[in-house]
Amino acid sequence: MHPARARRLKLVVIMLIGVFIAGGFAFLAFKENLMLYFTPSEVAAGKAPTGQRFNIGGMVVDGSVIKSSQSVDVQFDVTDYDKTIRIKFADILPDLFREGQAIIAKGKLNTEGVFIADEVLAKHDETYMPKEVADSLKHKNKPGYDKTKPSPSPSPSPSP
């Protein structure tokens, strides 16, 4: 083999190994840092893992926010209009956090089924609903809303 070509081949091989090692590490980091999203119903049904971080999203239940007057702690409930999960948070809530608003919380579930959040996200925009929350509300209501076709018949709900 031509010496120059051999050198180039060596270079390519070294680079490929480097990229593969980097890719491998990155993949490991990826796996550890992937956070699944769950709705309150899924959490209530026991689908969410305990002891592992995940996201939960829903609407903050009106009147559920309780703020401690002794510490920074707060607790509130989020709902997908089906099941409700209690969230505890020991930091300052974002400015845009409000009752009746959609939020996403990141954290872990404790053994009592309370979600211990380490981060709570609300959005800058007042007219915002996190996409995940919007989607999960959509799934809650299968026969319901469709952009072009209004619901053909009411879903089986108690007749007034």
């Binding site: 890719g23 840092n33 992937l34 920074v72 300052i92 400015d95 800058h124």
Partner: protein, 659 residues
């Protein structure tokens, strides 16, 4: 009337963009010099039309013309003048108009400052930029008209998002857009060169100053955004790996790679296909960023109010621009022959590795950002990728990059001898010792701090060594300093910027303290040697808001360091409160206090306290980097006619390229 005039100027700009794009294209195809000469005046006229259009929108904001829906949505009679002007680019429509204006400004600049470029080549570049402009102007006019009228006319506007009522954010978007859009010049030069089958070192030399300047704006724009997030979002973070931030960081990484790769193509006539590909990537990532921010495919804390229709338009545009240029690349790249060879140990190899690490980092960030879209599309569930992933790959790939930065500067072009460089182990050892000493001065030991500081010392020592190499054969004197070309200064200044940046992130990330506390008036909290005493909060009223202002006195060893006045504002036009943090800025540390909310009856408030060592160095580093870029752009080589400055590798071939 003025508003209709602005609308008219916008449509005129579209017509001029069509002329600018189509006529020179036909001219180059059928070789009609008259049509080629149209490029320059058409581009200049288009710029003028967009300036007028933009001025009309500014005017509508200044006089509170709420008959314009966009003004009514984003302004208010209580809004101060400065923010009425910056409100022009505070939301989707206006910021897109700014984008179009900036694009035509760059094109205008190209027509003025590229006298050394042959007219035919210039016509191609201007035509390509015209095509991009057509895309954006159509997008603007069809889906996002900023001049759309509103009836009935409201008496009061909805007000600008209070987060955007801030000086830093008033200038952040124009800076960032100058950077994003500036990459279109390098892109247009690359496409023009491929189109003409002239991917040579002259092309690289023409592109270099433009890429530098775009990169400077991008660097400053990102730094400003980070600074703004730090003090205005109120919660003390300076980088969140949010999709919108990533959208600006990815093109920066690729543009940085491009700057280095252009140097090789310019000086050694090597890496030609790769450089062209990087130019395409850099601009494509800017466009992708636009798509991500405005289409609503990703959940981001600060995306624009999203609209899928707009998303479809940008995606089609992206497909056309990027798909088209990559197809052209696939057709032309196989024809390129590289003439110069280099050995495994050479500056070329070091720069190639630099490029690979930067691009792999950009791809990693892209993968992390788009991962939620992939999993949803493949029906694998809803995931989000946490910031630890991004931090991890940043450190993983940043470490070899920093090592390379130190070492690569001292390598010769083409071929170097390994034996000569064994001595570099000495500065490496010195760096580690200095880093150990630095870390021991901090409050506790941290492995990552040691790593970061070692890399910083290493880069510093090697950059100085590299700079001093100039004086091997001549005395260190004022006159010899003056003989050094600006690009040599620029490189080393920028690398010092990287050192400062590296120190900043290392120390801030490893030694910051944060605590959320509940304090009654008179109570205090001790953290990192500083005592924060809360003296209660009182009501305040501003021009378009009311709120509370806290009073916190910080002392250290009983000496008063600062009296902080963090605020909580409620703007009249909005329902949500806004946090205005108080920051005591310093060269080696920032103290940060933000007001949370009132709890109970005793006047107690929740407060967030931060101690952030060396955080200013992050932005200072970015400023030094861009200063380096600026100095390098002044190099005379870029302004000379190409004949006299052929590279050594090309000298024996008359036209250089394409055997």
């Amino acid at each position: 009337m003025i508003v209709e005039f602005g609308q008219f100027a916008l449509i005129l700009a579209l017509i001029l963009a069509l002329i600018q794009a189509v006529l020179p294209l036909i001219g180059t195809l059928i070789n009609l010099p008259n049509l080629i000469l149209v490029a320059r005046p058409a581009a200049q006229a288009q710029f003028l039309a967009l300036v007028i259009s933009f001025a009309c929108l500014v005017y509508a904001f200044v006089i509170h013309d709420f008959s314009v829906a966009y003004v009514a949505n984003n302004s208010n009679t209580n809004l101060p003048l400065l923010y009425r002007v910056s409100a022009v680019w505070g939301a989707h429509e206006g910021s897109l108009l700014l984008w179009a204006l900036v694009l035509s400004l760059w094109t205008f600049a190209v027509t003025i400052f590229s006298r050394q470029v042959p007219p035919l080549m210039l016509a191609r570049v201007v035509s390509i930029m015209g095509w991009i402009s057509i895309g954006f102007l159509l997008f603007l006019i069809i889906t996002s008209n900023p001049f759309a009228r509103l009836f009935p006319v409201p008496a009061q506007g909805h007000d600008l998002n209070p987060l955007l009522q801030d000086f830093g954010l008033a200038i952040h978007p124009p800076m960032l857009y100058m950077g994003y859009v500036g990459l279109s010049v390098a892109f247009a030069f690359a496409i023009a060169a491929m189109w003409a089958n002239r991917l040579d070192s002259a092309w690289a030399r023409w592109s270099r100053p433009w890429t530098n300047i775009a990169w400077i704006f991008l660097t400053l724009g990102i730094a400003l955004g980070s600074w703004w997030a730090y003090y205005e979002l109120g919660w003390g973070g300076w980088w969140f790996w949010d999709p919108v931030e990533n959208a600006s960081f990815m093109p920066w990484l690729v543009a940085t790679a491009l700057i280095h790769s252009l140097a090789v193509t310019d000086k050694r006539s090597s890496f030609k296909a790769w450089t062209a590909l990087l130019a395409i990537f850099a601009f494509s990532l800017s466009l992708l960023g636009t798509f991500l921010v405005r289409s609503g495919v990703l959940t981001s804390v600060h995306a624009f109010a999203s609209d899928p229709e707009r998303g479809v338009f940008i995606l089609l545009f992206l497909l056309l621009v990027v798909g088209g240029s990559l197809t052209l690349f696939a057709m032309r790249a196989p024809l390129i022959k590289s003439h110069s060879q280099f050995s495994l140990l050479s500056r070329e190899t070091a720069l190639l590795l630099n490029n690979i690490f930067l691009v792999v980092l950009a791809i990693g960030i892209l993968a992390g950002t788009l991962f939620p879209i992939f999993t949803v599309a493949l029906n694998l569930g809803k995931y989000s990728v946490g910031f630890p992933f991004f931090n991890f790959i940043f450190v993983l790939l940043g470490t070899p990059l920093a090592l390379l930065l130190g070492f690569g500067q001292l390598l010769r072009w083409k071929k170097d001898r390994a034996r000569q460089h064994i001595t570099k182990l000495i500065p490496l050892a010195i760096s580690i010792l200095l880093a150990v000493a630095s870390v021991l001065m901090m409050s506790y030991f941290s492995f990552y701090a040691l790593l970061g500081m070692s890399l910083a010392w290493w880069m510093l020592i090697m950059t100085i060594t590299s700079f001093m190499q100039r004086f091997k054969n001549q005395p260190f004197s004022f006159s010899s300093l003056r003989k050094i070309p600006p690009s040599y200064y620029g490189t080393h200044i920028a690398h010092i910027g990287v050192v400062v940046f590296c120190v900043g992130i290392t120390l801030t990330s490893n030694y910051s303290s944060k605590k959320d506390v509940l304090l009654k008036p008179g109570e205090s909290y001790q953290m990192d040697g500083y005592r924060y005493k809360f003296n209660g909060a009182k009501q305040i009223t501003g021009p378009n808001y009311r709120g509370y202002e806290g009073d916190v006195v910080i002392t250290k060893n009983n000496t008063v360091i600062a009296n902080m006045k963090p605020q909580k504002r409620i703007y009249f036009s909005q329902q949500n409160p806004m946090t205005e943090a108080a920051i005591d800025a310093g060269f080696t540390r920032d103290l940060f206090v933000a007001l949370g909310e009132e709890r109970g009856q005793a006047g107690a408030w929740t407060l967030r306290l931060y101690y952030k060592p060396f955080i200013r160095w992050i932005w200072l580093g970015a400023i030094i980097m861009s200063l380096g870029g600026l100095v390098a752009s002044f190099d005379k080589r870029y302004r000379q006619k190409n004949k006299r400055t052929q590279t050594a590798a090309e000298k024996d071939r008359p036209d250089g390229e394409l055997a």
